[in-house]
Symmetry: C2
Subunit: 212 residues, 2 copies
């Protein structure tokens, strides 16, 4: 009974059970290795070394390699997501919400090549890992919903949908560029790029209604 209380995932603030700490350390280590080595070069041994532990411990906390990297993906996404919702909380108008999502996705200390490299490696495994695919769908759904919370006030439902797709694609594409050619796109450039996209699409809409 007492163990049940300790095991409960109810208290999100102080989940300081040792096993939780280790698991977090390990999935962060996994991510760090991914940044350096890519999915093809990521091994349990390297993850263990990165975490300053033995390989055995990794498999003690994660059933297998796959599960470990699935959790690494969750971790990375959580960080990204946190940046967005923090800004989203402070946003009042629809346009501010859009900007919150956009700027949150390019936060200075996150919009960096290594993070992108790791993320790319994870994405590359999505097609062969149903769990990762599911995580990916969740991520995209939340992104979409965040964007629509702003776009609903700015465009018709159908168009909002379309613009949301465009914004997500553009954001992903800019991340990819950063990953493929570090330094080829700055945080400011990226933000401006997406904002211009939104402004352009909305301008198009105004022109159409004005012309009609």
């Amino acid at each position: 009974m007492s163990t049940w209380i300790r095991n409960a995932w109810i208290d999100p603030v102080k989940l300081k059970r040792l096993s939780d700490i280790r698991r977090k350390e390990l999935r962060q280590a996994a991510f760090a290795v991914l940044e350096r080595e890519g999915i093809a070069g990521a091994t349990l041994e390297k993850v263990a070394a990165q975490a300053g532990a033995s390989k055995g411990i990794v498999l003690h906390y994660f059933r297998n390699k796959q599960e470990l990297f699935e959790h690494a993906m969750r971790e990375a996404n959580a960080v990204l997501c946190q940046a967005v919702i923090a800004r989203l909380r402070r946003a009042r108008t629809p346009m501010e919400r859009m900007d919150a999502v956009i700027e949150g996705n390019f936060e200075e200390h996150l919009f960096q090549p290594p993070l992108c490299h790791a993320w790319l490696s994870l994405c590359a495994e999505v097609p062969r890992d149903e769990k990762m695919a599911r995580i990916q769908r969740v991520i995209h759904a939340r992104m979409r919903s965040n964007l629509l919370s702003g776009l609903r006030g700015l465009a018709s439902p159908g168009e909002a949908d379309d613009i949301a797709l465009g914004v997500t694609a553009l954001i992903d594409g800019l991340w990819l560029r950063l990953g493929l050619q570090p330094g080829s796109v700055s945080r400011e450039q990226a933000v401006r790029q997406v904002k211009n996209y939104v402004a352009g699409r909305l301008a198009l809409r105004e022109l159409a209604t004005a012309g009609a």
Copy 2:
């Protein structure tokens, strides 16, 4: 002397030397394996099997695994590129050139999840493979130049640059979406999306000059 003539890469039509055929077969096989297995699961044995040959032959034609996949990347890019330049030849106006690039990048039989999966896996290795990085830079440079050949007639140099970056990022992002969630974006949607982006950016420009 005669061998030199035969070895020359001058004649692009009839490079039917046996070794050229094998090399092409093998890098195509490598790409096919990449589609199925991803970079982490791609092995020389599987590539050999895919090509209906032995592992030895793969290493006979390519120094090592790395080189093989570098060539696979070249191959894949060549196909994509070909689609674009074919359309580009028929384009007369700047706008037609833009559409040529856009539509070429989403050609029906190319804009497919498997191709994207393989492409993703290759991109994920770019940060750790200087040769691939170089190929990547070349690809991007050509893409940019193709776009600018149209954009120069539509916007100021500075803005053309910026729009070109946006278009490439958007295209990449839409490919990524297709790869992560097959079926989530159709060819027509993708084309429309990018065209709208361009139209929007240009509209923005007109509004600015009209307002001033």
